[in-house]
Structure formats: structure tokens, C-alpha cells
Point group: C2
Chain length 280, copies 2
């Protein structure tokens, strides 16, 4: 089977590696608008060739989209215009509502499966692609009833073969959950990095003392603006809702410390500890 990967970065590149390793893809064609990036993907053996979008899609059984969410709507419409009812199109972006909404009336909508494999790292580009990336993680599939059964079955099998477990959601709920669980973590981490960079002028101290929990909390702050800025902007209503709540939670900590109210501070921390119940 030939597979086209549009956007051979962290996610697309890791998907390419997975599909090759599993023997699902015999040839992988890379598509992208950054020639440098495609050259790197070729050099790293993530893809076997690079072609313009039209040609690549024509020769592929599966088209996998892994580009920033502000670009994916236009590209997905373009791809759906090109495919026949044997070809399958998958998207892996972090928001699902706007995209699903944009293609809902397309005559080839049923060839499209809207997914969100819940994996990522703070790195980006083809160099960031890794083997066995998705194993053990959840993959959200949205609006499965709008995909053709054959397309859905194929995509479910593909993610299961990669070691993922599948959750089904409507696109609107997906975006709410993603704001709570993924998007706010990134904003927190970016803001924490900016806080420390603003306040802590002794960079040696950051470097030397970072053992105290800082490193894991700020890890996501290394993430790419090309990927994340469009995610926040597109999912803005949900993101603002959670961000307002987060600021108000931080204000509670501030108030408890300002007023030296130890009982309240302990209560806030003990409430946070309840996250243990949910995460191992």
C-alpha cells in the first residue's frame, strides 16, 4: 500500500516510521511546503520520495495529514477534491470541530476519518520523529458515523496495530477535553518559562538548580509556535474558558499566601492531590 504523509514533522514522521515498521505502507510519499524539511525526511528515511500534493494523492491508498491546524482545513478540502471512494484520508490535528465542520458537506466526507492520536513531545520537525511513538496511548476518533465503514475499519485497525486504544467522541466534546487536558498544559508551561526568563536573570542558577521540578513543568515550553499558536487560536473559546479558570485558581493560591491563611493553602493543595485518584 502507498501512503502519502502531508507534513513530515514530529507526528507525520513518527506515523511514517510506524506504518513502515508494521508493513502497512510499502511506499511513503512526503508532501510539504518546506523543501528543507522534505530533504531531511528523505535523508532520515522517513519517506521514500517527495511529490507535489496532486501527484502524491493520486497514487496513494491512504493520505495522512499532520500539519498545523490553521493549514489543515484548506489542504483537507483540496485532498477530498482529489480522492475516489477507495482512498482514505486521515487527519491527526489537535482540534477537531472546525475541521469536521468545514468538510461536513463535502461529497467525499465519508472517505475522511477525523482522529487525534494523543501523543507528542516538545520537539518538532522530521528530526523529532521516533519509532513506536504511539504505543500505549489513546487515539480519539470523532464523528465516526460520518466515515464510510471500510474507511473507519481500516483506520481503527491501523491505530490498534500501532498499539493505541481508541476512544470515540463528537468533535465538539473532543475540543473541550483537549483544551482541559492538553492545551492549558502547554499555555501554563509557556507562561512559566516566560515568568522565569523574566524574573531570573541568572541563567546559570536556572541551569544548576532545575532539579526541583522545574524541568518537567516547563518541558512543554519548548514546543513549536507553528503548531501551538493556531491550536489555541482555533480552539479559543474553550481555551479561554479553561485559562480563566486557571488564573482564578492561581489567585486562590496568591490570596491564601498573602493572607497567611495556612488552612486555606493546605486545602488548595489537598484538593490538587485528588489528581492522584485519576492519574497513576
Amino acid at each position: 500500500m502507498n501512503v502519502t504523509v502531508i507534513g513530515v514533522g514530529l507526528i507525520g514522521g513518527s506515523m511514517a516510521l510506524g506504518l513502515k515498521k508494521l508493513g502497512i505502507a510499502h511506499k511513503i510519499t512526503g508532501v510539504g511546503h518546506q523543501p528543507n524539511s522534505l530533504q531531511k525526511a528523505l535523508a532520515l528515511n522517513l519517506i521514500d520520495e517527495e511529490l507535489p500534493l496532486n501527484e502524491a494523492v493520486k497514487n496513494s491508498a491512504v493520505v495522512f495529514l499532520a500539519i498545523p491546524v490553521d493549514a489543515s482545513i484548506g489542504v483537507l478540502l483540496q485532498v477530498l477534491d482529489l480522492v475516489n471512494d477507495k482512498q482514505i484520508v486521515i487527519d491527526a490535528g489537535s482540534n477537531k470541530f472546525a475541521l469536521c465542520d468545514a468538510v461536513k458537506d463535502h461529497p467525499m466526507r465519508k472517505q475522511f476519518v477525523a482522529t487525534h492520536p494523543m501523543w507528542g513531545t516538545e520537539f518538532s520537525g522530521p528530526e523529532a520523529a521516533v519509532n513506536d511513538a504511539f504505543a500505549g496511548r489513546a487515539c480519539v476518533i470523532c464523528e465516526k458515523e460520518k466515515s464510510a465503514e471500510a474507511a473507519l475499519n481500516m483506520v481503527e485497525k491501523l491505530y490498534l496495530d500501532l498499539g493505541m486504544h481508541i476512544i470515540y467522541m463528537n468533535a465538539e466534546n473532543h475540543d473541550i477535553h483537549a483544551a482541559y487536558i492538553s492545551h492549558i498544559s502547554h499555555i501554563t508551561s509557556f507562561a512559566l518559562a516566560n515568568t522565569v526568563l523574566e524574573k531570573e536573570k541568572e541563567e546559570d542558577a536556572i541551569f544548576e538548580m532545575a532539579g526541583g521540578g522545574f524541568e518537567s513543568t516547563v518541558r512543554l515550553a519548548k514546543s513549536s509556535s507553528a503548531m501551538w499558536a493556531p491550536i489555541f487560536m482555533q480552539n479559543r473559546e474553550n481555551v479561554l474558558d479553561v485559562l480563566n479558570e486557571h488564573i482564578s485558581q492561581l489567585r486562590k493560591f496568591k490570596a491564601s499566601i498573602e493572607k497567611e491563611n495556612m488552612d486555606y493553602l493546605v486545602e488548595l493543595i489537598e484538593n490538587a492531590n485528588k489528581i492522584k485518584r485519576i492519574l497513576k
Copy 2:
């Protein structure tokens, strides 16, 4: 050499394991006010015996304090009243200024070495103690000029033997850096957990979708209130300073998203990315 560990939890227990493994301590005596905890420490072979503070100190060459910062001032004064000028007292708490200030005029101040080994996990209690905990991390030693040379040399060697590298700071600067690098990370993480617990009523979704970066950002939210509430309260001036900056950084993200100002949002993220320069 006999060593007394006061507070056999995450830090004290891990220190006990390290001192035994290196052959530095031949006998470890545990002191604490929670009988359950001491029984667990005995059962886990972290300590060889448990004794009341006075007796334990009398028989020990080194006394290692690893208790919450609100308790450590009183206990350190008590210990310094008991020691002679051959005995060495070490504290490992996360704040240094209040403690150093409280003992600055004690006649045995020179037997005390104020340290902060920059290691920890989100777990607590004797069960949380691990082998090789401190290797590769920094240990801050404060006010080294106020410790006797023999005491300082012994403590430096002990931390070096554990695989740590040593940084020297005055206590005031230590507490500022600790607020920037460690304390604010914990508050952020606690507040993030509270945000998600408040907003996300579908706990299954948190559990299933947590792959998206949430888990590492919220990890510290499992940390103990007994340890952290007193740290924040004691270092309140520095903590509030950084917390105010953090809230204002989050407001910038909010403003950029509310106003759909993509350039500003990208600028905020790219500024945060500069943390790469400092952390690997």
C-alpha cells in the same frame, strides 16, 4: 559512623539509603513524631533503630534534618543545644533564609551546615525513599563561611560522594532562586490540577487523554501539603513576587487569544522557547 536522620520521609529516607550504600553510615537512627512512619522506615531497612531525639543525637556523629520547614527551626535549635564541637548537623530543607537567621547567634552555629540537595519527587513518606536519589543533581550550600571548616569539608565530601555537584550561595539568594525555579513550578502544577478537576467533570476523559503533555505538567500536583504549604508560606515574599509575574504572563496569553492577535501569541511562545537555551 552513626548518623541520626530526623524525618525519615522522601528526602531523609533516600539520604539514609545513600549513606548506608556508600558505607558512610554504619548505623542509622531514625527520629520522628509519627510512630507509624518510623515503623515503616524500620520495616523498609531505611533505619536501624528509632530513638527519641535527645538520645539519638547523643550517639551520632552526624545529624541530618529532613522535616517540613515550619518544624525545622525549632528542632534545629534543640539539636544545636545538644551537640558538641565534634558533631555535625545538616539540614536539607527547601528554604534557607529563615532557618539560617534563626540559628545565626547560636554558640554551636559552626557545627551546622545549611544545604539544599536539589532533588525530589511528588511522593512522600518512607515508602517514597529511593536508592541513588541525588546523583547528578546540584546541592546548594548556604553561608559556608559560618560553618566550621571540618564540618563543611565533611558535608561537601558527603554530597560529592552521593554524586552531587555543589553550588554556594547566600541564604537570601537561595530562597529567591528556589522560588523562581522550584516553588512556582509546584504552585502552577497544583493550580493546574485544581483547574482541571474543577472544569473537567468527566474523569475518564482525563485519564484516557492524559498523553497530551498533561501528565508531566501536573505531576508535581501530587506533592504533599505538609511539605509544600510551609515552604510557600515561609518564602512568601519571593513566592508572591514570582506568582504575580506568572499570573501576568498568563494574562498576556489570554489577551493575545481574546484579541485574536496571532503575532503576539507567536511572540509569547517564541519567547518561552528560549528556555531551550538554558535547559537541554
